[in-house]
């Protein structure tokens, strides 16, 4: 049975960490700049991530302008196009998605949801943000150096990444990119240790692991994965930096570049790819697992129903996390690695589809016999399921090694990963912001603007990425500045590309409305009260909204899981985790 706390007559477990109030800052700078409060750090992380994400959004517009209307915009040269491709991908994956899920939602929600006063190492947590900011600044600086940022593609494959045929390869672009990644990983590690240790050590009395909201499970598992995966990228970046600056040959074989023999020799470009994807594939789930967790909670709260199959959901998260470390070479089926690897990696990759499918079933079965409130967070959650199922299923094409061969390196891949790790997690981010904004500010986001934002984003994003699969199916390779009209096209793709680009411009533009809503509602939003969604998890039961430094007066005691919605006989349709209610005639249990 699920650990709802109603069966086991356990004693109060001892507090694992003494209830120590984190030190209060007294100066303005200590409170608002170098803050050690996880909630404030969360906002700093999210604000920075969204700001740099807007840069990446604009670059996606510029790319789509080129692809949709080739030859129309003279300032988009091939060099600039590849720089946009690279920086768009890198910013979105690392500096926006990873940072906002772990640094943003992780910081805000973990202490509140586990019933802690703050992260366990507040000072290190603060440093984490400032090193992240430095990483972002170094990245931004690469736009202003001679030659501009690197145009090596977000995968930064050597040898091209450090050679002159690639934008920024022989100049400083690639150096700043690598330095920025190294800084990011250092910053993340400081934050990540905090998130993991806080979940393990600072849960309040009664908050067993199997009573944690799935949001915490998702963020926690993703954090542990990131702590294990990022070191591979770290090593790869350091080695490539040495190849570029010191003339070592970790990834560089004997080369003749444009007729000139270089002094490299003996290195292996494929070794970099293994290191990169050993990080890169878990990275997909580092973004996806927090989204899985958060969306489970959104669905449960707004359908007034317990998450279906909670224990299975937890195990699915953990199994997906573990399996994702042995699937990386499915990104390399046509890389020239030994072809026999294909059998192993195709098998592991398709096996991972099973726990992933279980999660989808359980989300939908949570809706079954629910009391579905079509709030903005619920709409985004539904949008997430559609786009995630779509993107997940096309993963079965690409994961099945031989089916991948014709599709690999085509626009089909671009459509697939945007649907599954771009659109779907971002749907969850939006839903989560509409859901928790009232807790963070005390006011609701404007509903009308939210409706417009949802509909344009959801339908628009589907209109961008669904047809894009067919651009790849017809054979158009990815990372093509222009395709022209080669004979193998069964139909010209110009019109379709123009349609996709137009939809992309509209989807991008409506995000401005969302940002406006965030600022407008700070003053003009409807007052929310402490628990506007009537939700059960702890963060909605703080004595003050927004929660003050230290979160609680007295640490809450937890009596049940986070999903006691519509419990028969209960006075309301939800029971807070710290609500000691028991059915009449039964004795109070802890």
């Amino acid at each position: 049975m699920v650990d709802r706390g109603s069966d086991d007559r356990m004693q109060l477990p001892p507090r694992e960490v003494a209830d120590v109030m984190p030190p209060h800052a007294h100066s303005w700078i200590g409170k608002y700049v170098f803050s050690q409060d996880a909630k404030y750090i969360a906002i700093q992380y999210s604000g920075t991530a969204v700001a740099i994400g807007l840069v990446a959004l604009v670059m996606s517009w510029l790319m789509r302008l080129q692809l949709g209307f080739p030859g129309t915009f003279d300032f988009i040269t091939a060099e600039a196009y590849y720089q946009f491709v690279t920086m768009h991908g890198m910013i979105m994956v690392i500096y926006l998605l990873t940072a906002i899920f772990l640094g943003g939602f992780g910081n805000y929600l973990i202490p509140l949801m586990v019933g802690a006063r703050d992260m366990v190492f507040p000072f290190v947590n603060m440093l984490s943000y400032w090193v992240y900011l430095l990483a972002v600044l170094v990245l931004v600086a690469s736009f202003f150096v001679p030659g501009g940022p690197t145009g090596a593609g977000w995968t930064l494959y050597p040898p091209q990444a450090v050679l002159s045929g690639t934008p920024g390869g022989a100049q400083s672009g690639i150096i700043l990119m690598l330095v920025s990644l190294i800084l990011f990983i250092i910053g993340f590690t400081m934050g990540g240790l905090n998130y993991a240790v806080t979940v393990l050590q600072a849960r309040t009395r009664g908050m067993t692991m199997m009573r944690l909201p799935l949001t915490v499970w998702g963020i926690f598992t993703a954090t542990v994965m990131a702590l294990l995966a990022f070191p591979a990228l770290f090593v790869a970046c350091v080695m490539m930096l040495f190849d570029r600056l010191l003339g070592t040959s970790f990834f560089m074989p004997t080369l003749v570049e444009l007729g000139e023999k270089l002094s490299y020799g003996g290195g292996s470009p494929i070794a970099f790819q293994h290191l990169f994807w050993f990080f890169g594939h878990p990275e997909v789930y580092i973004v996806a697992l927090p989204a899985f967790g958060i969306v489970s909670d959104l669905i449960a709260v707004h359908a007034r129903k317990n998450v279906f199959g909670y224990r299975m959901m937890v195990w699915a998260i953990v199994i997906i996390g573990a399996l994702s470390f042995i699937v990386w070479a499915h990104h390399m089926y046509v890389s020239g690695m030994h072809p026999w690897f294909g059998f192993f990696f195709a098998t592991t990759t398709l096996i991972i589809a099973i726990p992933t499918a279980i999660k989808v079933y359980n989300w939908v079965l949570t809706l079954w016999k629910g009391d579905i409130h079509l709030t903005i967070p619920m709409l985004f959650a539904l949008g997430f399921i559609v786009t995630f199922v779509n993107g997940g299923l096309t993963g079965l094409f690409l994961g099945n090694v031989v089916v991948d061969v014709p599709l690999s390196d085509t626009m089909f891949v671009v459509a697939h990963f945007h649907m599954v790790m771009g659109v779907a997690p971002i749907m969850v981010i939006f839903g989560a912001i509409y859901h928790w904004y009232p807790k963070m500010t005390g006011r609701m986001l404007n509903e009308a603007m939210g409706q417009i934002h949802f509909w344009v984003t959801f339908i628009g994003a589907y209109a961008v990425f669904f047809p894009m699969h067919y651009v790849g199916l017809v054979g158009v390779p990815r990372r093509y500045f222009e395709i022209g009209e080669p004979e193998f096209l069964t139909a010209p793709v110009d019109g379709l590309n123009a349609f996709i680009s137009s939809a992309a411009l509209i989807v991008g533009a409506v995000q401005v409305l969302f940002l406006f809503n965030i600022f407008w509602s700070l003053r003009h939003g409807r007052k929310a009260g402490g628990n506007p969604w009537r939700a059960a998890s702890l963060e909605w039961h703080t004595p003050e909204t927004p929660p003050r430094h230290g979160n609680w007066n007295e640490l809450p005691d937890v009596y049940r899981w986070a999903y006691d919605y519509s419990v028969p006989g209960a006075p309301e349709d939800y029971l807070a985790q710290n609500d000691p209610w028991v059915p009449d005639g039964e004795e109070r249990r802890l």
């Binding site: 091939a78 091209q160 934008p167 003749v256 046509v334 195709a346 090694v401 193998f488 519509s566 028969p568």
Partner: protein
């Protein structure tokens, strides 16, 4: 209720788009129609799953939407249902994986009778090398590349002297003859990609990769680079011309051997060589 309509329309729209789409893979010109078959199986299975899940979701939203007085059912787990769904999913995954791996085995097993041919990539053009009269390709390495030896054929290897050097980006292949392409690059990653052949593979400097296929119809097929290789990546094009065996032999006679190629190059650049 708009969302129910939207969910249904997304499913219907996607199916209609798929059925009416003129954007479909180009007619095949190699033996890899198994790949196309596996792809079609995958389309059917995944398409059915997508429609089922989204339509079921639309039904739930319609049926269980909030109305005054309506209350959700309290129903934490249903082990039987969960295991049943897990089993069906595993079966569906196996239905795609097993034929996939079966075809992959063929894909990586080169038949004995395949002839060898080297594809050579550099920023941003294609060249080719064929074994000469001795039927053996000489060794080659970026180490040996110079003005009269652009492909880096080992000048000390007797097997290399009669190799045929084909520049200009176009290669002829005889129809219905299995061919193993040895893929080699001397600068950065490239990828030899002919949409009609379905097969593609990266070319990695410092090593030799391969693919094999049998061209099944004559024609002129464009070669693209499918691995981003620098600024002119999309313009790195070539041609494979598949012809009948006799025409292929005629074309073969016109190609220069490595020795002839090198001496021509020496004759064309006497001054530069003297300086060297």
């Amino acid at each position: 209720m708009l969302i129910v309509v939207a969910l249904v329309l997304i499913v219907l729209g996607s199916i209609v788009f798929h059925l009416l789409s003129p954007w479909w893979w180009t007619p095949i010109a190699s033996n890899w129609d198994y790949i196309d078959d596996t792809l079609v199986i995958t389309f059917w299975i995944t398409g059915a799953v997508f429609a089922a899940i989204v339509l079921f979701m639309a039904y739930c939203v319609l049926k269980f939407r909030h109305r005054p007085g309506h209350k959700a059912e309290f129903d934490p787990e249903n082990k039987r249902l969960e295991w049943w769904l897990t089993g069906v999913t595993a079966a569906g995954v196996a239905a795609m994986l097993v034929p996939g791996l079966f075809v992959w085995k063929q894909f990586v097993t080169v038949p004995e009778e395949a002839t060898e041919l080297e594809v050579f990539g550099q920023q941003w053009s294609w060249a080719y090398r064929l074994p000469g009269a001795d039927g053996v390709l000489g060794t080659a390495d970026a180490e040996w590349v110079n003005g009269e030896n652009p492909l880096g054929v080992n000048p000390h290897d007797r097997f290399g002297k009669d190799d045929l050097i084909v520049e200009g980006g176009e290669i002829y292949l005889p129809v219905d003859q299995p061919v193993k392409l040895l893929l080699r690059s001397i600068d950065v990653l490239h990828n030899f990609y002919v949409p009609e052949f379905r097969a593609k593979m990266d070319m990695v400097p410092g090593m030799v990769t391969y693919i094999w296929f049998t061209p099944t119809r004559t024609g002129n097929f464009e070669v693209l680079c499918a691995e981003y290789c620098g600024t002119a990546h999309p313009f790195m094009r070539g041609y494979v011309t598949v012809v009948e065996a006799e025409e292929y032999q005629e074309w073969l006679q016109e190609q220069l051997t490595f020795e002839e190629y090198a001496s021509n190059a020496r004759a064309a650049q006497p001054v530069q060589l003297a300086e060297n």
